[in-house]
Symmetry: C2
Subunit: 400 residues, 2 copies
């Protein structure tokens, strides 16, 4: 058994739960440009070149209608009931198979608001209309968003293990970084050190290598999704925080940790920074303690947000957290404020068993940002850490 087969079986169960007869995916050239439909990577351990139609039925069968030169590659996965090759025209193979299966409701991967369920290209949608013109199947098309979101969001046991392993590798890199950090190096030096460790460990960065890790060194650094500075140097008496994760065996970690660079006069973090850390950790813990299947995304965000505001800190200008899986931003439901239009729909969904979320409030201080990001998995009973959370500000370069 593999994680891919686990997910395929889960997809079949979800088709039954969500009352879809067939989950249809179209793609082409995913081998040269990467899967254009991110859902394929959930259950398919390979890519294709020619125009391909995949169909998974609620009876548990999986079919691929595929260019002749892709047949061998797909058949060798062992996942398909049948791989049908075509030489000249996909329609000649697709229509008889559809007639045989005769699905009443066919789900496609599209969604205006949930990007992980938005896999189908608009041109491929037009192509499908062309292929199905004159057949009854055209009006049986609907969105598979519910299936795709749940499939991505509800991690199976094997996926949680892979995510925990990615977190452990991240912790190895933190340990090395603790010894490396010192005044005088630049943000870019720290990034290069982290990249070198990733290469040594044979893992990729969790997201775009150009801003993974995200680095905030001291009060002057620009936070957000931008590259570390090649000129800004780490200074004694300031905070250093990184937003970082690795991709290992297809699964990603996304965590933040904060260090303090001791000075002779201030060998320990000053009270202002310690207090910010305590409030942020309290917000994370309050959110985690409230997490249960059936809670809405916005309810969890509100708990952490109000903890910060009541302690006199400004609201964070983003969501409290997002799901993590094969991508650093994964799954449908987000822990965000429901009265912000860009989070309105995606924070209205409910937490489900197997969802893996980040919890990432943060607070600025006069010596830099205290950034914290933890990862938890939702269980029947509540939420569990994927890796031990940061409990205090770490001291950089303790051995100098």
């Amino acid at each position: 058994m593999s994680v891919h087969r686990d997910k395929l079986e889960q997809a079949v169960a979800l088709l039954r739960e969500k009352d879809l007869d067939c989950w249809m995916m179209l793609d082409r050239e995913s081998g040269t440009m990467g899967q254009s439909d991110p859902s394929l990577d959930l259950w398919l351990p390979t890519t294709i070149i020619g125009l391909t139609v995949f169909m998974i039925t609620k009876e548990g069968e999986a079919y691929a209608v595929v260019a002749n030169y892709d047949v061998e590659n797909l058949a060798s996965t062992g996942l398909f009931t049948k791989v049908v090759g075509y030489e000249l025209d996909i329609r000649e193979q697709l229509l008889p198979l559809l007639q045989e299966l005769d699905p009443a409701r066919i789900g496609l991967n599209y969604s205006a608001d949930n990007f992980t369920a938005d896999g189908l290209k608009y041109g491929l949608r037009l192509k499908l209309e062309e292929l199905l013109s004159g057949t009854p199947y055209l009006e049986r098309l609907t969105t598979a968003e519910d299936v795709v979101s749940a499939l991505r969001g509800r991690k199976v046991a094997r996926e949680v293990d892979l995510l925990k392993a990615a977190c452990q590798t991240t912790a190895q890199i933190w340990d090395a970084l603790t010894d490396y950090l010192r005044p005088g190096i630049t943000e870019m030096d720290a990034m290069k050190f982290i990249h070198q460790k990733c290469d040594e460990l044979g893992v990729q960065t969790g997201w775009d290598r150009r801003w993974c890790p995200g680095i905030t060194a001291g009060p002057e650094s620009v936070a957000g999704h931008n590259a570390p500075s090649a000129t800004l140097k780490l200074q004694e008496g300031t905070l250093f925080s990184i937003d970082f994760g690795v991709k290992q065996d297809g699964y990603v970690s996304d965590l933040q940790r904060t260090w303090y660079l001791p000075s002779a006069s201030q060998p320990q973090p000053p009270a202002e920074a310690r207090q910010a850390g305590e409030v942020v950790r309290r917000a994370i813990r309050a959110a985690k303690d409230a997490m249960r299947p059936g809670m809405h995304g916005y309810e969890i965000d509100a708990i952490a947000r109000s903890t910060l505001v009541e302690a006199g800190y400004p609201e964070y200008k983003s969501a409290l957290g997002h799901q993590v899986g094969q991508g650093a931003h994964d799954g449908g439901v987000v822990l965000g404020p429901r009265d912000w239009p860009r989070y309105a729909k995606i924070s209205a969904g409910m937490l489900e068993v197997g969802n893996v979320f980040t919890l990432e409030p943060g607070a600025k201080t006069s010596i830099g940002r205290y950034g914290a990001e933890e990862m938890v998995v939702v269980t029947e009973q509540g939420a569990e850490w994927l890796i031990a959370p940061q409990e205090e500000i770490w001291l950089a370069n303790p051995h100098r």
Copy 2:
């Protein structure tokens, strides 16, 4: 100047040529899952997280309407006239900007048949309809396929240089492979050797690492887009061919070369293999000699195809060639037979100056496949090799 700015300027010229007022691109989370619209990588050296609308006008202005946390990152590219950040709702920033620009024809990236012009997700198309509802812009939307195809297909000088550099790196790996190849190693051993060389040289494979290189060792090997065999061993007296390329500085090579493994009784390739090689090379040269701006893709395919058939070899079951650029399969026009439905539309286009094509007919023999794939760039006068073509079958492991 950078290749990105070159391409942005070319895009503006193409908007004028193709009579579009504005080229609009939508994306989100391209930093976690990779650009979902492949056209963005042509001119944008970064990725974004939040829902983003890019607009390039035929007046030469570039705009981005973007989540607040992506502003700094986009502004730092120096490519934009204006980067407009939004905090809550993209509509509040997008509509005033559209009213200011008031474009009469707005091109979007979609195409039923040309995958490189099919960047827009179907859900994002629905999102755009939602954002523009009640405005006059909804009915001004059309496809930007012509602009996108030409922008990807017409390589600027800097792109041709980058493609040549990728070819040179590939040749370095061929040289190493010539010394390494010997009877008894498996196809998988050869792949591992090639991957190790890529890692040493700091380049990626040209396409999905799982089947780059594609390897055909001897007569039993399965050709096509599948992984090399871990059990099939190279044998004396057989042909060994690879379909391989690297990705270096964002640009790809895609080339095939064939070696012969000498045996004591047959130290040189037998006549059958030499003859197959000569016919394949003659087909490539005839196709190359015929290439001119304005020729149709299917005309070039027909020349090589008939060369093989007239020499008594079967037709290849694919196209003669495709374009190469940032992807191993790139650009709109393909050199394929026009009477095959899957090539009908894409082989009807015309060659343009700056197009980079592969020419890759092949022939089976009783001792394995003679695979050849060359890369050429179309100029005003004809076509030029990007790297010297293979002129005879190479001998493996000559120093043993």
